[in-house]
Point group: C2
Chain length 142, copies 2
């Protein structure tokens, strides 16, 4: 399992890969869709009931810092995260509003420089999230 071990090591960068963090990272990967902290804590505590909610928040914060997790939106006041792998090149997200599945999307901003030129703004960052229905949900009509 060297590959997986390396993968999870990457999730926390220079931080320690404790059993709790490993459980949380594996839970994030196994969810396979956009999730809230609550979803992730539920999955992680199913695997190890002793894991506290504060630990989940801290682990998510650490994984977000390394880019292994990304926030992809919000749902009912909670931040939505998705496991996006590390070292991916610049991209955005397609979020299924029915099942929460998340797929990477090419950055559609081909002309950001043009926007900056016409407005006088110098753009340093941008967020793009596309919402819709994935093929599976379309097929089931849900």
């Amino acid at each position: 399992m060297a590959a997986i071990r390396d993968d999870l090591t990457y999730a926390f960068g220079a931080g320690r890969l404790t059993p709790q963090r490993q459980t949380i990272a594996e839970s994030a990967r196994s969810l396979g869709r956009a999730f809230t902290i609550d979803d992730l804590a539920e999955e992680a505590r199913y695997r190890d009931p002793s894991i506290g909610v504060a630990t989940v928040y801290r682990a998510v914060s650490a994984m977000e810092a390394t880019g292994w997790l990304e926030r992809v939106g919000e749902r009912a006041g909670s931040v939505l995260y998705a496991q996006c792998g590390a070292g991916d090149r610049h991209h955005h997200h397609l979020v299924c509003t029915s099942c929460g599945r998340v797929e990477p999307a090419e950055c559609p901003l081909h002309d950001v420089a043009a926007h900056a030129a016409t407005s006088g703004f110098v753009i340093t960052n941008h967020e793009v999230t596309l919402y819709g229905l994935c093929p599976a949900c379309l097929a089931t009509g849900s």
Copy 2:
């Protein structure tokens, strides 16, 4: 001031234009930049200290429903709003990360349909926010 009166009437659609709501809407317009509920409440209470925070939240909710206000992002856990006028056609936002100034931006997603076709997703909604520095902040180096 018929024009302004009409403008504010539009802010609440079919809802009543009470003195409190008028104060809140004028405050939103006078801020001239992206603001949190807290910023808006501070401005509104400067004009009328008797206005309660719940009233500000309710007014913002009503103005958002008519499209007179739009949420343009978040700052330190609070939702950022901007007064965008009513009846504007589809657009997004350029937010200055230094002063909070907001300008409308053309929708840069010329090929949303192409994304849907290649991914199998049917896109029903999207959010785009561009962050950067406005000309004024660039000039002052802040």
